[in-house]
Amino acid sequence: MDSHVLGWVAVGLYAAAEAYTILSLIRSRLPALPGPILIGAGLVFQFVDLEVRARAMHSVPYKTIGGSMSLFGWMLGLSYLALLFRHRERAVGPFLIPFVILFSTLGLLLPQAAPQARPDTRGAMFALHVTFAILGYAAFTFSFVLSLLYLIQNRQLRKVKTGLLFSRLPALESIGGMIRTSVSIGLTVLGASVVLGVIWAERVWGTLPDAKLGAAILTLAVYGFLLWKDRRGWVGERVALLSILGFALILFSYTFVNFYFSAEHAFK
């Protein structure tokens, strides 16, 4: 299974879902169901592919850059389905599914060879810590994309531009609801990931890491502040901007902090 045929089948299904959701935006009378079915089928195939990798590595496949990208793509697909079932808003599909395709494809193209596994990273708690973190980042990625869509639609409304994008994008209230849902998911699972990580680090290292934990807590604080303000009337553009700031912090944590301030906790 080195060729990851199942992974490529999954990417093909995601691409078909993208094509269908674009078509169903143009022809609004097309049934909605084929889109989520294609995504669901892709998730099943990709899961089996990840399972094969996991068996080969004796671990959740986050230890290789390819594996972690695939896992991230799979989590994005899962988050997309969750958003779709919660909000029934298929108009965002064409904007979100490309991220599922992108990361799932990168997962198949990037190196698959696992570095020597550190003995201290074995065990369910560490696996859950990393898996939850990836799911959290997937949800925050969608909140970022949705925030961009919110700002675009908001600008069109302000400038009274009623062209193609205006007619295709959902209502602000609907996008706002999806931002709220994805931030809530991200906050919950990333919070759980941080707690598990802290417990695990205390148990294994006997000390609390590090700049990366600090960045993660800061990220949680930004998104927590966002949800709090959202409930207190900060609805709208400011929430979208805060969500973008939160995502910028995640990127900062994944790059700068990861490589320069986090020797033990680095993901490379």
Partner: protein, 420 residues
Amino acid sequence: MSISQEAKLSLLGWSFRGAGVSVRERVAFTADEIREALTKLSSGGVISEGVIVSTCHRSEIYSFVADDGARTALTRFVSEWRGLDQAELEGSSFYRSGGDAARHLFRVAAGLDSLALGESEVLGQVRQALSLARESGTTRAVMHRLFESAVAAGKRVRTETEISRHPLSVSSIGFELARKVFGDFSRHRVLVIGAGETGSLFARHAVEAGVREPVIVNRTLSRAQELASGIRGRAVPWESLAGEVPQADVVVSATSSPGHVVTRPAVEAAMRERRGRPMMFLDLAVPRDIAPDVSEVYNVYSYSIDDLEEVAKENRARRAREVPLAEKIVEEELETYLAWLGNLSVVPTVIQWRNHLDHLRDLELERAPAAERERLKGQLDAFSSRILFEPMKRLKGEGDAARKLDRVEAVRHLFDLDKE
């Protein structure tokens, strides 16, 4: 369908393009009048099948007629029935026959011949016209197929193009904008300030869009109450306006007030009360009712009549861009219909043509000596077969449906087959 009908589809009509409202209002038909007119036309032998499409922009009589004087006969009928001057009616009417009449109907159903390009109502009106004709017993298979095909073309045009997608009226555009902020209207509140003509129109549109119990505020409470009772809304006195604004998600204002009815401080106070939830103001009044700086308040969307009319202009251009694609669909559907009709017509025409030549042959044989008849019959049969061979081959092989129908019509005319 009898063979004589196939090339005799005729259309006599009065539309906004050639007939002023003074003519159109006199030739307009109510549903009962359509039934009555069709029955009279049919029983009087003027038409063998017929459908009348009557809207505020057009009255059109589609029929299969027995002779070439359809235009005069139908105009005379309308003139006598309505007591109108025949010359005036004829001067403002238009007439089409055969494929052109069918094409016109398809274009009407597609909204391509409408005043508001791509409007949707006309499709229902065409369907309703067919239904009334069926009730009157003046449609059979071909007319039915013609109208069903026209409705199918109209549906395809609306599904496959964006010709009906972009709203044209100010109130529809206002709701389109509001829908892009709030989504589902059933959970949101609309406040209409002013119960005049514009306010009433908007309030009615709001109810059609799914708004529950729109609130109407007017300086004269009785007018607000009158409007509210007709749309299951709620009328409130003018003095309650300040208290109603924070409750509303969409505020529509159309008063004749010389000054601003809603000011920025009032909106800022409302937004505090609403804890920042978005609000939309649609100002349909001139001079403006809503202070222009209201749009600077966070999460407030405010549009003036000029904004909405600018969108209407853009939408008209967007609809116009869809016309070539819509025309293509109309031609495809028309071709399908005419092909069906053509296939229906060629074979009986050829048989009649052959019978016509056999009849001429028999007339000649009667004058020939009896001993010669058998030999002559064989020669004449071979001769007529040679004459018919090429024209029949060309008639059957014609790929263009409209041309095939025209050629069938030409054969029937030249050999006077309808007389037989």
